[in-house]
Each structure stands twice: as structure tokens, then as C-alpha cells.
């Protein structure tokens, strides 16, 4: 399964709406980096509103894709992390410290704009 990546001006928008298996997560990582490369996008929002579980593997893939995108020059914001997911992640011992987050897609875009356009 492939996760659709939408382009909006110089941003990429992704809404993850499926229960992520490992393969799909890794494929997404690769697809996103390729899309950043091709489109020259400077900002990315990954919306996790519909994701009701993030385990240590998915967290690693997400954390890695943020760092990888950053290396390429694109800022990533994760949005919409559910309360139950946030609690579970911290209890698991996963802090995703260098990752930018926002409450929802709208706030995520505002955050990106502030960061990129100063």
C-alpha cells in the first residue's frame, strides 16, 4: 500500500489514514524523500489524526524521516497526534525530542510558515 503525498505550493501534505505496517512505513519514508527531491518542497506536514497506534518501529521510521528530510533541507511537522498515542509513546520511552509538532493540520501549516518565512 502507498500513502498519497499531496503538493501544495512549496509544501507537501500527508494524511496517514491506515494502520501502518512496517513495509508501508518504510515505503512511505522512501516516497517522501523522493517527492521532496523532485518537487523542491521546503516544508512537510504529516498528519496523524487517524492513527491510533504508534509502536517503537513506526516511531523510529517517523523520527528518521524527519531527520532525513531535514538533511535534504525540508522541515517536517507532525500533527494531530491523539492523546492515547502521546501517552503510549511516552510510556514506551519514546520522546521524539527533535521533532516539531502541532495540534492539527492548520496549526502545522502556520508553524511551517513561521519557521520558513520568518
Amino acid at each position: 500500500m502507498r500513502i498519497p503525498i499531496l503538493k501544495l505550493h512549496n509544501y507537501l501534505l500527508i494524511s496517514i489514514q491506515i494502520d501502518l505496517d512496517d513495509q508501508t512505513a518504510i515505503q512511505f519514508q522512501e516516497d517522501l524523500l523522493n517527492k521532496i527531491h523532485k518537487s523542491g518542497a521546503t516544508g512537510v506536514v504529516i498528519d496523524l489524526t487517524s492513527v491510533d497506534i504508534i509502536d517503537s518501529f513506526i516511531a523510529k521510521v517517523l523520527g528518521d524521516v524527519v531527520t532525513m528530510s531535514d538533511l535534504m533541507g525540508a522541515k517536517v511537522v507532525l500533527t494531530g497526534i491523539q492523546p492515547a498515542v502521546a501517552m503510549t509513546l511516552i510510556e514506551l520511552g519514546i520522546h521524539l525530542q527533535d521533532v516539531q509538532t502541532a495540534l492539527d493540520l492548520e496549526q502545522g501549516l502556520i508553524k511551517l510558515r513561521q519557521e520558513l518565512e520568518g
Binding site: 494502520d19 501502518l20 513495509q23 497506534i53 492515547a84 503510549t88 519514546i94
Partner: protein, 133 residues
């Protein structure tokens, strides 16, 4: 809804199948959304360990009905290489697979009861219980 006691873990997708079934059982038992997420995440970690380190195994569910409380027991069993040093794998950040090393100590924190039995060469059995509050 019928109670399906075990999910075989043979391929990567079975990790998703196991945690979805576990979440359904948790929901039926009356767990809230946060506990459902804890249980599903714990199952995901246990099933992935089976897939990564043993190749195959199974995750089983048992409903515990006691006079004063009820809960869901998860049993993860494999006949893989086993764990040589259990205290080492229970340390945060320890991983032999390039992962975050959050798996087993994380599962212990997410659940109310956690027990692990393993012998080198004999496989591993992990039991974890969450009580309905």
C-alpha cells in the same frame, strides 16, 4: 463476536493483524481508548520481536475473569533462539536490531503485569496482563 484465542505470526503483516485483534478484544472487555492503545502497542512490540528474532510464533489472548477484577492476558510464544541475558533486554535502549530498544521495557510499562521466560535455544514465552479499571 467470537473469541479468537491466537494469531500466528509468520509474516510482517501478522503484526498488524495481532494488534488489531487484541484491540478488538480489549474494546469488548470494556477497556478505555488509552488502555486499548496501550494493549495494541504492547502486542505490536511482542509480535514484532517474534517476527524479527524467532521468525515465527504466536500471540494468544486470554480473558481473565476474577471475582473482583477482569483483564486481558497476552501470551507471546516462539521457539526461536531465546534470550541469553534477560536483564540486558529489559534495559531501555538495548537493541540488537538497530531499533530504539524500547520494546520489552516499554511493554512492561504499558501493561500491569509482565513475565518473561526464556532459555537459550528453547524459545521465549512472555505473559502480560492489563486489568480493566
Amino acid at each position: 463476536m467470537g473469541f479468537n484465542p491466537c494469531v500466528n505470526i509468520r509474516k510482517e503483516w501478522d503484526i498488524v493483524g495481532a494488534r488489531q485483534l487484541g484491540r478488538e478484544h480489549a474494546k469488548e472487555l470494556g477497556f478505555g481508548t488509552v488502555d486499548q492503545a496501550r494493549i495494541a502497542t504492547a502486542i505490536s512490540e511482542l509480535a514484532r520481536n517474534i517476527y524479527l528474532y524467532a521468525g515465527t510464533g504466536k500471540v494468544c489472548f486470554e480473558i481473565i475473569n476474577q471475582l473482583d477484577k477482569k483483564g486481558l492476558k497476552i501470551i507471546a510464544v516462539d521457539k526461536g533462539p531465546g534470550i541469553r541475558d534477560i536483564s540486558q533486554v529489559m534495559q531501555d535502549g538495548y537493541s540488537t536490531s538497530g531499533g530504539l530498544g524500547a520494546g520489552l521495557p516499554g511493554v512492561k510499562r504499558l501493561m500491569d503485569h509482565f513475565e518473561i521466560r526464556s532459555d537459550s535455544g528453547e524459545g521465549t514465552e512472555i505473559e502480560a496482563i492489563k486489568w480493566v479499571r
